[in-house]
Amino acid sequence: MSTSVTAPPAKSTAPRLRTPGKKRTPGKPKRNVLLTVLMAVMVLYTVVPLIWLIINSTKTQAGLADSNGLWFAHDFALWDNIRDTFTYHDGIFGRWLLNTLLYVVLGAGGATLLAVLGGYALAKFDFPGKRAIFAVVIGAVAVPGTALAVPTFLMFSKMGLTDTPWAVIIPSLVSPFGLYLMWVFAAEAIPTELLEAARMDGASEARTFFQVALPLLAPGIVTVLLFTTVATWNNYFLPLIMLKDPDWYPLTLGLSAWSSQAQTIGGDVIFNLVITGSLLTILPLIAAFLFLQKYWQSGLAAGSVKE
């Protein structure tokens, strides 16, 4: 998510003293105090909630109530909280984690696959109706998923698919933004001449795609995969209206259900588990960003420089 914003501003090599008046080498911009301050504020803005989350996941329910939010309470209960998070309600948190992984692998993975295939086809092949498809894709990017939720629910209900994992996976397969990104990326990253050369050498279309195009598309694929993974991992509204059975909840819905227990007559108040669960929920996303960062950064820059 917002982790991207906190990426360090260029490489922080030790500042070298320069004699004034000397012509500056291009590519090494002068440090701008205002920008640095702004950046620091942004870093604070994104990091403070994370720190809050880490600190507060070490507290018990009682500790949460009578201690300052930005410092540790007298009781250090992180390990207890993690254990309780995984054992509360017969360990349903683990089940939600697996559900989320399932939705991400099938939903986000499938969405990426479709976006790659579609984007490649739209970028490199000519066929009638291409302009119309372009208009539809651009239009679809503008429609918020929330607006489609109720119609989608009614449609899936007619098909008897609500309250099954398919109701979450199938709509997740559609990613207009991913398709658009892949389309633009494929148009820039794969020289048409290369495809023509492959065809001249007698490679089939499938072989051309897998052996010539796909390696060139890798940075773009990682980028789209990250976008769809984050979108599916964080998806809340779609599962909210599609699913009733808590056994099929993703983490977002499960944690929200735990949180709303505090608003229920006779409900168990477990803010400490909600906070610990939230921390555990974002860890995989942070890991994914850190490991894939170099790929997707190069992906975003593609096409920006004419070679």
Binding site: Q61, A65, F153, I241, K244, T264, I265, G266
Partner: protein, 445 residues
């Protein structure tokens, strides 16, 4: 920020599903289902067995469902919980309008029952024998589930109101427990003067709480007769409420904290929110939500609007109902009856639920129960007396969930701006009337 977005989402979900619910159910009128179902029929269904799905978040139902299955081994109760409030109703309305995936039994709070019974979304349980259970329940809850000779659910719990107060804070500032709302106002002034961080209560505008106070004050804003409804906040009871509450707001004596948030739990724990007027189910939430203030709180009778008046009201409470589209109605009724009238009641009370049945409320063991949390106080005596003093002629609107969802846009303004409470209530009235007319109700003005 998060609150606003979630409120908008909730609004969208609620409005769309309400509209769907009303239209979809208008078509499936079948009043043919009125033939009596004998106890023998129900027993036969229990012997034959089958599956029922129950949508309910009430935590003690877990044990009840397990016991029920032990007693009737051929019956499988599929208890689906985890979700409450608006989300629960959104899911229920969605299922009813889609005609698929409707549960056999659903938990429905009293204020929301009208919405489902009027759109023929619920089974009339009178033919199953529910009409003979009237005398078992206290008048407030029974009045909420029944309409003439029709019974749309069985009361599961009730919320006769009481005043919970932080005795430690009261003792510290030598404040006496208020017996009238005027004394309450004085206590609020005294407390806030002694400690500017402390407030007598939190309130940013809460529809359920306001309607409960109006109920207690003798106001009867809603009149419902089938599809004919009337909304009118211009009566003596409402005036009493407006006078006291306007002073509390004007003098900034209410903590600007929404109920049920982490801030609220924190305030109840650290003494900055000193009282809470709410339903008798609250002790269970105190125990798990405010563990650090154990021993500090006590219960007392609700302050009266006129000295010596004993009138009380309900806040919260819910029923189990059988949707009209339920597949296995005999089993559904059998479970509902077991949980809310039969052996299940004792189980649920022992796990901390607050009963709606007279026998449990009046029993010696219930009344003499000592609450460790309240320093050993026998608080059930206070609650049981309150339950007996609830006026039974209150009714909610058949679209109360919608009305409650727009409360903060109308009356809520009085808490955060210069709008007067009276004007806010008038705006709420107008908006409710308008919505009622749009939904096809005959609204009397």
């Amino acid at each position: 920020m998060r609150r606003t977005t979630s409120r908008i989402l909730r609004g969208i979900a609620l409005v769309s599903t309400l509209a769907l619910g009303v239209t979809a159910c208008g078509g499936s009128d079948d009043d043919s289902d009125t033939k009596a179902v004998s106890a023998g029929d129900i027993q036969a269904a229990l012997d034959k067995g089958g599956d029922i799905t129950v949508w309910a978040w009430e935590p003690t139902l877990k044990t009840v469902a397990a016991d029920f299955q032990k007693k009737y081994p051929k019956v499988k109760v599929n208890l689906v919980s985890e979700r409450s409030g608006d989300k629960h109703y959104t899911a229920l309305s969605n299922a009813i309008s889609a005609g698929k995936g409707v549960p056999d039994v659903a938990q429905v709070e009293y204020f929301a029952l009208g919405q489902y019974s009027l759109t023929k979304g619920l089974t009339d349980l009178a033919p199953y024998g529910a009409d003979k259970l009237a005398s078992k329940y206290t008048p407030g809850p029974w009045n909420a589930v029944s309409d003439g000779d029709k019974v749309y659910g069985l009361p599961m719990d009730s919320g006769p109101m009481a005043l919970f107060y932080n005795k430690t804070v009261f003792d510290k500032y030598k404040i006496t427990v208020p017996t009238t709302w005027d004394e309450y106002l004085d206590a609020a002034r005294k407390l806030h003067k002694a400690d500017p961080k402390a407030y007598i209560a939190n309130d940013l505008g809460d529809a359920g709480f306001t309607t409960s106070l109006l109920w207690q004050a003798g106001s009867r804003p809603y009149k419902v007769d089938g599809t004919k409804v009337a909304v009118n906040f211009d009566d003596a009871g409402a005036k009493k409420f407006e006078t006291v509450w306007q002073k509390l707001i004007d003098e900034k004596l209410l903590a600007p904290v929404n109920g049920w948030t982490d801030d609220w739990y924190k305030g109840l724990g650290d003494g900055t929110i000193a009282t809470l007027a709410t339903g008798a189910w609250m002790p269970a939430n105190f125990v798990t939500g405010v563990p650090n203030a154990k021993g500090q709180w006590r219960a007392a009778a609700m302050p009266a609007w006129t000295a010596g008046d004993k009138a009380s009201a309900e806040n919260g409470g819910s029923s189990l109902a059988v949707p009209a589209l339920a597949k296995n109605k005999e089993l559904a009724y059998a479970f509902t009856e077991y949980a809310n009238s039969g052996a299940g009641v004792a189980t649920r009370v022992s796990e901390g639920a607050f009963p709606a049945t007279k026998a449990e409320l009046e029993s010696a063991s219930f009344q003499s129960k000592k609450f460790d949390y309240f320093g050993g106080q026998e608080a059930n005596k206070i609650f049981a007396e309150s339950a007996a003093n609830v006026a039974s002629d209150w009714s909610y609107l058949p679209f109360q969930p919608y009305a409650n969802s727009i409360f903060n846009d109308t009356v809520g303004k009085a808490y955060v701006s210069t709008t007067k409470l009276a004007d806010g209530l008038k705006a709420w009235q107008d908006a409710s009337v308008k919505y009622g007319e749009e939904q096809g109700f005959t609204v009397e003005k």
